[in-house]
Symmetry: C2
Subunit: 178 residues, 2 copies
């Protein structure tokens, strides 16, 4: 951030009076520009004993497999964002079962939230950011070709929890020192 | 938003090519300025059969009772944000038990997340945004003087769940038409 989005003057980067963190501050109009973590909402789409994965067409991690997910938009509920991304990336129709995994990723200021979701038909296909969509049984999961740790962990928990038919909400953290 | 934070030129508000939502766009440097929901993290601090509430000193809802909570900062885990706010608003020392309630508030593009937390001592007091801190038994809760619906719902679920000594994570939505 170099300029104030309110008045167009240059911003400085310093700790405001009464605060203890660096902020972008406009000394012309006194606006403090706070920056906050963003939420990525997605689904774990399920059909019988299979899960739906998407092969990414875009960076980061192009050609790796992922669950449909993306940035939550203003004015959406978390579930609405997860459904929209599932539709956009996999053209898939699902019904949400329950919130399942929540990840803090402080090194990139992101929070991921995945819902377990039931595919309501098999009419799915690759969206614009996807090369290929496919149902995988547990034994077929390309564990070495998954896009992100949040995907690996969500799938690992799912197949483990499925043995007990119990899927508690899991609040998790992925800590990467930088 | 009126000016581009990257180059300082005026922004326009329109739907970018290939998108379906209005965004602030800089026609000078082509930056698209996305806006996303923010997370408010907080605690439900517990001591024996009591919960700790804070009387707000600031608007909105000054002089109403709330749970300690505030905007999650960049580079924080959700739990770290909840602990920091509990320290800032109530000078309270707690240990987190578990994530408890999650609320989507799409009308204001916010997501609230509260953790159940155990007070580790009774050395709490009002922080800068707080007039008074106090432990309440269930019968003493000032239900008509609570600051926000997320507070009322979190406390209602807590006292109900306490009867069964079972506190499942609750994913909730507060929908207010505008």
């Amino acid at each position: 951030m170099k300029f104030c989005s309110q008045c167009g003057k240059s911003v400085s980067h310093r700790i405001p009076d009464g605060d203890n963190r660096y902020r972008y501050i406009c000394d012309a109009c006194d606006t403090i520009h706070y920056q906050n973590p963003r939420i990525i909402a997605g689904c774990l789409p399920i059909h019988e004993n299979k899960v739906l994965l998407c092969k990414r067409s875009i960076d980061p991690r192009a050609r790796k497999w992922t669950l449909p997910a993306g940035f939550l938009e203003d004015s959406e509920t978390i579930a609405q964002g997860a459904l929209r991304e599932t539709s956009e990336e996999a053209n898939a129709n699902v019904e949400i079962i329950n919130l399942y995994t929540i990840f803090s990723l402080p090194h990139i200021s992101q929070v991921y939230m995945f819902f377990r979701a039931q595919l309501t038909d098999l009419d799915f296909s690759a969206g614009e950011e996807t090369l290929e969509t496919r149902l995988f049984e547990e034994e077929e999961i390309p564990w070495d070709e998954l896009a992100f740790p949040v995907i690996t962990q969500t799938l690992t928990h799912y197949f483990e929890d499925r043995k007990n038919d119990s899927f508690p909400v899991r609040s998790l953290e992925i800590i990467i020192e930088r």
